[in-house]
Structure formats: structure tokens, C-alpha cells
């Protein structure tokens, strides 16, 4: 709880802004990140005693990059519409500092089973925030939750309008800021207990 990659370490913000206009894209992104992060952590951890120190970052990058490309290819083959929506951002998991960060900081020192749990935990922590941001953006930007319209036509006829700002990146900044604030305020008070 105190170690969430986005709200505490402020990592992975770029993708958090880009793919959170709808919940379904956020969910698929989460699954992809959890998969890439867990597998890369396990692979790096298995190799940790053999990787020459001089080239370790390059080796980590190659493992991560290969996994991301595989994830991208699989999505293109089995979920074509979704891969069109995620576009370039799936490929950008490579540059998501969470993945390389966990490989370097955790997987290089710990056993594969621990690294797997670490990867899944961080991936899900990242995903929770993504989905939370997407929930608010989709609700206020499109009036729907997971594709189901919750704000009915009657409310629109009553003068309600979807908030266009929520669909644009600034909307994500505001919501992300509020979430980071709320999370930190909460963890701070619980630290004092």
C-alpha cells in the first residue's frame, strides 16, 4: 500500500495519462503491464547470478523490450480493436520506468518466486491507479462506466453535458493529482499511528 509505483514513486505517469480515457483500455493495459513486469522480473531474477555487472542494464532492457514486443504482437493477433486503441502506448511499456526499476532494484537481488510476487504486486498497484483514473474520466467524459451508459438521456436533456476536459490529458493530471494527494494523506496519517 505504501509502495504504489504511481502515487508514491510517481513512475509511469506518461501511460497513465494516455490510455485512461476509458476503463476497458486501462484494464487491458494493466494486464499487459502485469504480464510483462512479472515475466521480466522472473527472467532477470533467474539470470541474476550470471549477468555481467557491466552490461546488466542492457540485458534487462533487451529482456523487457522482447516481452513488450511479444505482448504487442499477441494483442494484434487476438484483440485487434484493442491494440488499435492502445496504439503506441503498449510499445511504450518498454520505457515505463516501473519495469526497468523493479528489474534493477528487486529482481537483481531476489529469488525468482519473490521477484514474481514483486512484479505482480507492482503491476497491480499500477493498474489500480490506472483503472481508478479511467473510472472518473470515463464517467465524467463519456457518462459511462465500462462502456455502459450510466448518465441517461433525461439527464442530458436536463442540461447536463459531458466534460470534454476529462477526455484530454489535463483531466488525467487533475484526477491523478487528487489521487496522489489522497493516497499520501492517508498513508501519512497511518504512519503516525
Amino acid at each position: 500500500m505504501g509502495e504504489n509505483p504511481i502515487s508514491i514513486h510517481v513512475l509511469g505517469i506518461c501511460s497513465a495519462l494516455a490510455i485512461t480515457t476509458k476503463i476497458d483500455t486501462a484494464v487491458v493495459m494493466t494486464i499487459a503491464v502485469v504480464a510483462v513486469l512479472s515475466i521480466s522480473n522472473v527472467v532477470i531474477s533467474l539470470l541474476r547470478n550470471n549477468i555481467p555487472n557491466k552490461v546488466r542494464i542492457i540485458i534487462q532492457m533487451s529482456v523487457i523490450a522482447s516481452l513488450v514486443i511479444i505482448a504487442d504482437q499477441v494483442l494484434k493477433a487476438y484483440m485487434y480493436d484493442m491494440s488499435k486503441l492502445l496504439g503506441v502506448f503498449l510499445g511504450l511499456i518498454i520505457t515505463n520506468c516501473i519495469v526497468l526499476g523493479r528489474a534493477e532494484a528487486y529482481a537483481m537481488q531476489n529469488s525468482p518466486s519473490k521477484a514474481l510476487l514483486d512484479g505482480m504486486g507492482n503491476g497491480l498497484g499500477y493498474g489500480t491507479i490506472l483503472i481508478a483514473v479511467a473510472f472518473f474520466r470515463e464517467l465524467f467524459g463519456f457518462g459511462s462506466i465500462y462502456g455502459a451508459q450510466v448518465i441517461t438521456n433525461q439527464i442530458y436533456l436536463g442540461g447536463y453535458e459531458n466534460n470534454g476536459l476529462m477526455i484530454l490529458s489535463p483531466g488525467a493530471f487533475f484526477i491523478l493529482g487528487l489521487i496522489v494527494w489522497a493516497h499520501r494523506a492517508y498513508t501519512e496519517t497511518s504512519d503516525k499511528d
Binding site: T21, I51, V55, I59, V63, I69, K76, I167
Partner: protein, 233 residues
Amino acid sequence: MRSDTYTIVFTTIVTVVLGLGLSVTADSLRERQSINEELDIKKNILSVLGFSLSSDWENDKIQSLYEQNINEFIVDKTGSILSSIESSNSDNYTIYQSRENDKVTGYAIPIAGKGLWGTMYGYFAIEPDAETVKGITFYRHKETPGLGAEVDKEWFQNNFIGKKLIDTNGSLVSVEVVKGYVSSTDPKSMHKVDGISGATITGKGLTNFLKNDLQKYEPYLSKVRKLNQIESL
């Protein structure tokens, strides 16, 4: 500290293993991916030509609908229909003709050109009279969500329907995306559609490449119009 030789050997092995893994994955998935891409194009052509598609349709259903109703052919810059053998020549253009019960119901042509952030790709459909707009869709673009990306929205696309491509003299004027709203008193309102506020450059780009693409097909379309005239006499 490990020796340099070890570093080189290790790196080589990792690279080879990863490279092998990637090529195996890419190769085994290629067939499925190209099926998806083709299907996506077919979906777009069908929807621009006014076939209503449901998102939960099986691939086979779309495939058979396409095969039954769409007739693809290639025309050259003089407007003559070419047999597919000559299709390696660059000056020829594909037309997707929709037919229902042996009657032509429309023509779709691919359109592409620069928007604000990148190339926009889509299809433009014309009624069998070869002068009235039947529809427009986009399947790939990089325009700003909420602004230029409104080109995907129904309100924008529906504005095109019923507009005229040619003037009373029979020459091509295409359809222009204006800044703001089209005034109803404008004598040329048949060739204009409302713009998207905040997306002037997207609209201008669309106006330009639409006209450009229509010009390539004009020789063929004018032949269709002449033929229609003769038939109606």
C-alpha cells in the same frame, strides 16, 4: 569481476535467444494479424457504404457479407476499368462497388492525407448517381481527442451525407469543411459541411485531400454519370 570474454559470450547468447523467441512469435502470429487487418478494412468499407454492422458479429459473417455485396475493381487515370493483371502500375485506383440484388447501391474510395498530427486514412462513399455523398469514415488518424478526433463522430460524418460533389455545370467541386457553421443562405451550401471548433487545421487538411483523391476518380465517376444520363433518357 568477470572477464570480457564471458561478457561477450553471455550477451551474444541472450541476444540470440531473445531474437529467436521474437521471430518465432512474430512468424506464428502473422497470419492471424493480417486476417484482422483485412477484416478491419472490410468492416470500414461495409459501414461507409451503409451496411449496418454489429460489433458482436463473427468474422465469417462479415467476410460473407463483404463477398456477397462488394465488388472490387481498379480504374486508371482515364477512368477505364483495368483487369487486375495491370495493377502493378502506380496510376490506378481501387473502387469498391456495393451491389444488392444486382443493382449498384454505391461506390467507396479510399481517402488519405494530412490532418494536424499525421496522416488520416478513411473511406468515402458515393451514391450510384456518382455525385451525391453517401458517407465517410476514418479508420486511422492521430488527431487530438475531443477536437480533431471528432471526425470519428456521427454528427460530423452525417453532415456529409447528401452533399453534392459536382456543380450544375458538371465539374468537380468536392465537399469543403468550413470554419464554423455553413450558413443556410450560402448558394454553395450543397458543397460545404460544418467544421469542428478547435480543429481548423484538421478540417482544412480533410478538404484538401478529399478533393485531391476525388480528382483521381473523377474520370471514372464522370463516365458513370454520363451512362446514368443515357439510361434515364
